[in-house]
């Protein structure tokens, strides 16, 4: 028989060894927090992330997949903002008067970019890397609200600030809000409340609506907000076709829509899905029978889908470059962007730029990178000048109070330039559009 039979105890010995190893591992630095002489204990990546003369921002943006085109536009907005912060550009000074040349609080701003492919998993992995490897002081990125929600939670767990990229779901500052997360852009509730009256005025009361909804948080909340608002004008939903993100073929859904007897098609799909579903809708004759409404506008929709399809279509948006005629800071922004990148910025780029500028403003006002102080600075409710006029953060849910714009697609004959796709019809002030702070179940967490 085997000698190994006598060594049964060896197995048990190994367990004890492992346990000792566990105890040894606990003695590793990085696990225990040393008491600091200063009155603020280390939190998140502070103060490690500001020890040197630069500060790091981690960006997870879709560079492949359904939202890739919009992601690239956003990325350029961030890049421009970083350039302006580091060079002390006058535009930044208008938004954040305390900012000086050399970055934020004298530290040069550096960024790291990872491809999220609009998947929360990839974004979380990348940002975790940015936190542990680069001691990121700020995280950003989302084009999908699923990513925004996931990064919200990560921010709260890791105690690192997060400003959203594009995120249209109500949940981001609703039931999934966190103390460490902030949103600059407009969202389902405000979009629906803004565009609702416009389409009721244009198309009448008691109409039948068909919805094309992408199957995730953004889609469901925007559709719901639209349905809730329009119900007050007697509109009914004859069908809600829910399709997965990235569906290649909408024919089954569109046939159901075509047979639904609807007057209006409300397409909540986004990114490439919006392009594909709209093009296919046209091929199934739907756009001849129904009016198209885009409650949450998509950057580059008009050039991609063809402006014959967007002509006359109402949409709600965060920013459009013709606002340069309305707001001096918008003009500066559009000029600088076009100079650097050769095309007029879409609203994703504007959102990206503004979110960094607002962060810089909050940090400069706090005088420190210490996260709880920066958060309180955001929450102070200062009125800030932005590319869309005066804005401020609402402290109860960390949503920026800012206007929503209603645009309408131009016909080919009306276009005065090759990027002149939309007319800004209305500027709707933000606060009346927003829900009561606790209406969506927002429960901000702790500061530390």
């Amino acid at each position: 028989m085997e000698d190994r039979n006598k060594k049964v105890a060896g197995g048990r010995r190994d367990f004890i060894r492992a346990g000792l190893g566990l105890a040894g591992g606990i003695a590793l630095p990085g696990l225990s927090s040393h008491a600091w002489a200063a009155d603020q204990a280390p939190i998140g990546t502070w103060p490690a992330g500001v020890k040197g003369n630069s500060v790091f921002i981690g960006i997870a943006v879709p560079r492949t997949g359904t939202y890739a085109v919009q992601g690239e536009d956003e990325l350029k907005g961030w890049q421009l903002a970083v350039e302006h912060l580091n060079s002390g550009h006058p535009l930044i000074k208008q938004i954040s008067p305390k900012s000086k040349k050399g970055g934020v609080l004298g530290k040069e701003v550096k960024i790291g970019v990872a491809d999220s492919a609009a998947k929360p998993n990839n974004a979380v992995q990348a940002e975790q890397g940015f936190i542990t490897q680069n001691h990121a002081m700020l995280m950003t990125g989302s084009t999908s609200s699923a990513v925004a929600v996931a990064l919200n939670k990560l921010a709260q767990r890791e105690k690192v600030l997060y400003v959203t990229g594009i995120s249209g779901s109500n949940d981001t500052t609703g039931k999934d809000c966190v103390r460490y997360g902030f949103r600059q852009c407009f969202y389902g509730q405000t979009a629906a409340a803004a565009i609702g009256p416009v389409i009721v005025k244009a198309y009448g009361k008691n109409k039948k609506a068909a919805y094309l909804t992408p199957d995730y948080t953004y889609g469901h909340t925007v559709t719901k907000s639209c349905q809730d608002y329009l119900a007050t004008a007697g509109w009914t939903t004859v069908t809600n076709q829910v399709a997965p993100l990235g569906a290649p073929d909408y024919s089954s859904y569109l046939l159901n829509v075509a047979n639904s007897g609807a007057d209006v098609l409300i397409n909540v799909n986004w990114g490439h899905d919006a392009v594909l579903s709209t093009q296919q809708a046209q091929r199934f004759g739907i756009l001849d029978k129904m009016k198209l409404v885009i409650p949450y506008q998509i950057p580059f929709l008009a050039p991609e889908v063809g402006n014959n399809l967007t002509a006359g279509v109402y949409a709600a948006t965060d920013f459009w470059w013709t606002l340069q005629d309305q707001y001096p800071l918008a003009k500066m922004f559009v000029q600088e962007f076009e100079k650097k990148f050769g095309y007029k910025p879409e609203w994703g780029a504007n959102n990206a730029y503004m979110s960094f500028a607002l962060w810089a403003e909050a940090v400069e006002n706090a005088g420190t990178f210490y996260p709880p102080d920066v958060i309180k600075s955001f929450e102070a409710g200062r009125k800030i000048q932005s590319t869309v006029g005066e804005v401020y953060f609402r402290k109860e849910d960390h949503q920026l109070v800012r206007p929503v714009f209603i645009v309408q697609g131009k016909k080919q004959s009306e276009m005065k330039g090759k990027e002149d796709f939309w007319t800004v019809l209305e500027t709707v002030p933000g606060l009346p559009l927003m829900q009561k702070p606790d209406a969506f179940g927002c429960n901000l967490g702790d500061y530390t």
């Binding site: 890739a68 085109v69 089954s252 159901n256 047979n259």
Partner: protein, 291 residues
């Protein structure tokens, strides 16, 4: 949404989808039936057909050239793949064959992504075939109807090759009993190579003619692959009529489920496949004992 017009329109839509699946699955089933190899790269080959056609279209502006280019490119790819790699796996366990075709599928997808990028590419339908057809109870894109016709012709051509030529007879014999074919002195390896080429071409041809319907991305083959499994299982391994009938059945399952909730369509397909595997594993026309 259960109205007659909805039912009919979904039925026709399902026919279009089913016809395409029938063609792609024919390719998969004759490869599986003859060589005993489950070609997990079949979806990728479908995708490559689309991209090869796209490249040809960019160069020449002719849809016809694109179709020919797409089909031939994938046929050549299939033959090369068989000669260089698959051939060495006939004596290896089934699992190894699955693994190598799976790996090749990934390589193909990533190579295309490297060359063409991730954004979707569009191959427009030829002007004569684009537009909308008014069928009275519904409007339907012309090209999708034309697609059904093209596929029908292709299936007919495949049928003629398989059932009316000497080569086809050898192929069908090889599906039934490769050992016997070998002992009759026919070069079985040459037969395998030809079969792989034909199967690949069916996938590639489908890929390019389907490109105007849904735009091309590197991922477009993945969903198709799983659907072809379902068709092959329902229709029976190695059976050409099984693939055709199975494809049409699959298309109709998708379309009828879509009347109620299109999101569930593919789950119903898998449910159907599992049911067939449990109750009648050889499918509609397959031979007993084929596993």
């Amino acid at each position: 949404m259960i109205s007659w017009s909805n039912f009919l329109s979904q039925l026709i839509n399902g026919l279009a989808l089913g016809a395409l699946l029938a063609l792609i699955s024919s390719g998969l089933t004759i490869i599986y039936g003859t060589l005993g190899v489950l070609n997990l790269a079949h979806g990728a080959m479908f995708m490559i057909g689309g991209y090869a056609g796209f490249a040809a279209y960019q160069a020449t502006g002719s849809f016809l050239v694109a179709v020919v280019a797409g089909s031939l490119a994938v046929m050549v790819l299939g033959i090369v793949m068989e000669r260089v790699i698959i051939r060495h796996f006939y004596s290896r366990p089934h699992e190894d064959q699955i693994l190598v075709t799976f790996g090749l599928g990934i390589v193909f997808v990533e190579a295309i992504r490297r060359i063409f990028g991730s954004e979707s590419r569009l191959v427009p339908a030829p002007a004569s075939m684009s537009g909308i057809v008014d069928l009275g109870f519904m409007m339907y894109p012309t090209y999708r109807l034309v697609l059904v016709g093209i596929v029908a012709v292709a299936l007919l051509a495949l049928y003629i090759v398989l059932y009316r030529t000497r080569l086809g007879m050898i192929v069908r014999a090889g599906i039934e009993d490769p050992v016997m074919v070998d002992s009759l002195g026919i070069n079985v390896y040459r037969v395998f190579m030809v079969v792989f080429g034909i199967g690949a071409m069916a996938a590639g041809f489908s890929g390019i003619i389907n490109a105007p319907v849904v735009s091309l991305t590197p991922e477009v083959g993945e969903a198709i692959l799983v659907q072809t499994f379902v068709v092959v299982v329902i229709g029976g391994v190695g059976s050409f009529p099984g693939a055709v009938l199975g494809g049409l059945i699959a298309g109709e399952i998708v379309s009828i489920t879509s009347m109620f909730n299109p999101g569930y369509a593919y789950v119903m397909l898998f449910a159907a496949m599992t049911l067939v595997l449990m109750i009648r594993p050889r499918g509609l026309f397959g031979a007993i004992g084929r596993e």
